[in-house]
Symmetry: C2
Subunit: 95 residues, 2 copies
DNA sequence: TAAAGTAGTTTATATTATAAACCAAATGAA
DNA sequence: TTCATTTGGTTTATAATATAAACTACTTTA
């Protein structure tokens, strides 16, 4: 089959954007990701949970002074999955 | 915003595969597309309808001898949309 | 003539994406 | 002080989607 299946967890606009951000930085916090992606907080919260449950990212929640702070970091599993997704979707993009 | 919105009509594995096939051929029939994509007939039928309704492809149904034959062809609108989608998703893929 | 194959379409269902509503604490203005 | 607003999220509800299963209609083959 010329078309490899695309990882459904990554074939989602917002989750792909989150992974794309995280792959090029050490870590990023919730607010920054929200700004960069333009997502609503609710949507972002849900999608971060999914990426976290899959082990694609790790999430740390702490308090900075008096404000909560959620920090995300891509895992090796996540890097592998992202690279695999990129490889697979390329087949669809250049015919 | 670094991430452009992805055309939801094209951000679907099967519809993207169909468009990817059609962009490099004059036309293709239902059975061929089904084989190449590995899709079920029902799913393919639905997705072809959606691409057709959006004007991304044109669909001709005729009889070849006694068998029905559905032939699909990408339109200029479809070519433009596909190229735009490719341009936009590239932003997500190379960070 | 009954079973199986071809070329699809329609319908039902399970999953998804997304927004709306909500919560708790902190800050700001009157 | 007290009431509204902002911050940083989470939870819940809903609308949209993808997909498979069931079905139709006709043809071929045993």
């Amino acid at each position: 089959m010329p078309f490899e299946a695309l990882d459904p967890l990554l074939h989602s606009q917002l989750r792909l954007a989150v992974m794309s951000l995280l792959i090029s930085v050490e870590s990023a916090d919730f607010v920054y990701i929200k700004e960069q992606t333009g997502a609503t907080a609710g949507n972002l919260s849900v999608q971060i949970d999914k990426l976290s449950s899959a082990g694609y990212i790790s999430v740390e929640k702490k308090f900075e002074g008096k404000k909560p702070k959620t920090t995300c970091k891509i895992t090796q599993t996540g890097v592998d999955a992202f690279e695999n997704y990129v490889k697979n979707i390329q087949q669809y993009l250049k015919p």
